[in-house]
Amino acid sequence: MTTTPARDVAARLGETFADYVPSLEGRDIVAIRPSYGLMIGGRERPAESGATITTIDPSTGAALSEVAEAGPADVDAAVDAARGAFERRWRDAAPRERSKLVFRLARLLQDRAREFAVLETLDGGKPIRESRDVDVPLAAAHFFYHAGWADKLQYAMPGMRARPLGVVGQIIPWNFPLMMAAWKLAPALACGNTVVLKPAETTPLTALLLAELVDEAGFPPGVVNVVTGAGATGSALVDHRGVDKIAFTGSTGVGKGILRALAGRDVRLTLELGGKGAHIVFDDAALDQAVEGIVDGIFFNQGHVCCAGSRLLVQESVADDLLGRLRRRMELLRVGDPLDKNTDVGAINSHAQLVRIREYVEGAVAEGCAVHQPQREIPSQGFYYPPTMVTDIGGSERIAREEVFGPVLTVQTFRTEAEAVARANSTRYGLSAGIWTEKGSRILWLANNLRAGVVWANTFNQFDPSSPFGGIRESGFGREGGRQGLEAYLELTPVRP
């Protein structure tokens, strides 16, 4: 068959089009200062020791800014400020006024959404499309939703008198820095608590910018305090005798340590920890959409997601078809500059995490597993890891049992519903699970039998402020979001009729 010149031209145009030249979000919308202090009592100040840590842009490895590293004295000052604000201002503020301040914060965050999105992407490495379309809107939604609860708490827990706990210490991870800050702050503030927030050491910047918005919204000084630092700062907060509650999101190992540290003390605790989510696909599923769910489940945010669907369980009769589609889809994933609006998979958050992911995959190869990665090139500068699928899994390998927290999917097959449930539940974790089938009763039966705090059916990684999120077993306890999530920030006493 001869090729006409016109067809050649069209073919070339098609290639040029589909290459998607970089479309970079402008970084000049956000002014990153050379250094940031701690936010204590409405004022910014350096750490008493003068210590700082450098936060970097993981897409290049270049330094972004210096932030103060809070020590015990700084944590002490922050807890003091929070205590003072609680007792003098916030505890007794009219619920309606509290409500309006939280609404205002939601609106300010919406107004400056793009600035937050760019900063989140620069500091954490996630694709701008995700920070713009997921992280920032969801953070604003969390404030907006919880604002409405502030003057309706009497309905949240019928028959109980609801009072704030007091000073809450909140320690959040690096995978969703702003969103986790919102998940923590919004219910705490709506319920009338004051907060000392400790962001992760690799991603402190959006929490600090959020603290500026808290001030701008008109919250009394000391209601929200931010202490930046690493594990030692978090320990100082946990060990402080002035906190009434600790809320932690992070690894199961650290969570267990916090539980031990608080044992015997009258301090409330909620833990949102790791996971090894099963993603179960039946042979009647809408396969192309299941593939999208699998891709979202494990490659969203580079797989740095506690509820990631990291274990694909596919019914044997459809395994070849599904995996063929998944491989083809993985070839399309664009790994690269997180500020490029067409990037699907951004930078791994830190060098340490990159090393950890590599070790897991190398270990899997050593244990006899097969590894598939797409052909597409990944950047040589910065921290990147390609989307990865691991097959020939027995189930006892490290990679099949431990949380990798990276873009790595393991694949196993099953034959019956019961086998799918047994494999899915064969883990110490219990955070999330996914089900793909067009049969409703199968979804509900599975949901009833899966040991997971969240089950998604024919979708994955959906979040909403009105929907409680959290784990069972070693994925932690306590819920965030929804009516149920309020309980974690309220002292409830029975109302005698």
Binding site: K100, K152, Y155, S441, L444, S466
Partner: protein
């Protein structure tokens, strides 16, 4: 000639997102406390009411289909725009006879009640709906659903808070509304229409009629395509007769009086229960 002639506003109805005069051509004079004529406000006819119900019905499907979160944000936007127009409302309330202090308090209450109901739009279903533990292999879920088109007899006290106090819960629950205000509220009713028209509320979701309160309410309860009437603004002795007329097609009726509580929003809702097998 040096004195500037002020440009007075024509006070019109608010139907389907537009500001028509009454199709009847009728207006009603409004005077200030000293008896000086301030304006002629449009006086709604039975056909205006019919048009308003038609607009509300047309807007209902899309409004109810929005997410509660989206409705919450739109109702919150009403509060923002109301606050920005507070000076105008306070002026007009003063013309209607309120003291500056009372006018300020009325506008405060109007803004705050809008915020309150904004915050309820995505809460009440969680409080009233839920999973029912039926004795069988089923998932059984009760959902809270809106009623449809609500006719609101707003209090005839001349304030704007009374209007927002009925519109707020009706909208938060996913209904559309035909709100009826009487004499003293006529000025602020028209101005409230301007607020609603500029605060992301889709056309037809709220329709505002000024006119003969009693006559309009009678036509409203008799209208077969109205799903619910709130009789808060009707004199207590006149309510019984109106409620009796709702029996014709079992139009729901309530009298929420602008109370800010769960019972109020429930008056604007119904419940639908869904069964689904949960066993393989």
């Amino acid at each position: 000639m040096t004195t500037r002639t002020p440009v007075a506003k024509t006070y019109k109805l608010f139907i389907g997102g537009a500001f028509p005069r009454s199709e009847s051509g009728r207006t009603h004079p409004v005077s200030d406390r000293k008896g000086r004529l301030v304006a002629h406000v449009a006086w709604a006819s039975r056909k205006d009411l019919r048009d308003a119900v038609r607009a509300a019905r047309g807007a209902h499907g899309a409004w109810a289909a929005r997410t509660p979160y989206n409705r919450a944000q739109i109702v919150y936007r009403v509060a923002e725009v109301l606050e920005g127009r507070r000076a105008q409302f306070e002026d007009e309330l003063g013309v209607g006879g309120m003291t500056p202090r009372a006018a300020r308090a009325d506008v405060d209450a109007a803004v705050d009640t809008a915020v309150y109901w904004a915050g309820f739009a995505d809460k009440h279903e969680q409080l009233v709906g839920g999973v029912n533990p039926v004795a069988g292999p089923f998932l059984n879920v009760s959902q809270v659903i809106p009623l449809g088109v609500c006719g609101l007899a707003c209090p005839d006290d001349g304030g704007v808070a009374g209007l927002v106090g009925l519109i707020g819960p009706a909208l938060a629950a996913g209904n559309t509304a035909v709100a009826i205000a009487g004499g003293p509220s006529a000025l602020v009713t028209s101005t409230l229409g301007e607020v609603l028209a500029t605060s992301d509320i889709p056309g037809g979701v709220v329709n505002l009629l000024t006119g003969d309160h009693a006559a309009l309410m009678g036509w409203l309860v008799d209208h077969a395509d109205v799903d619910m009437v709130d009789l808060s603004g009707v004199a207590p002795e006149a309510r019984g007769e109106l409620v009796a007329r709702t029996a014709e097609n079992l139009t729901r009726s309530a009298c929420t009086e602008g109370r800010e509580d769960l019972a109020t929003i429930q008056a604007f809702c119904d419940v639908r229960t869904v069964w689904h097998p949960a066993r393989i």
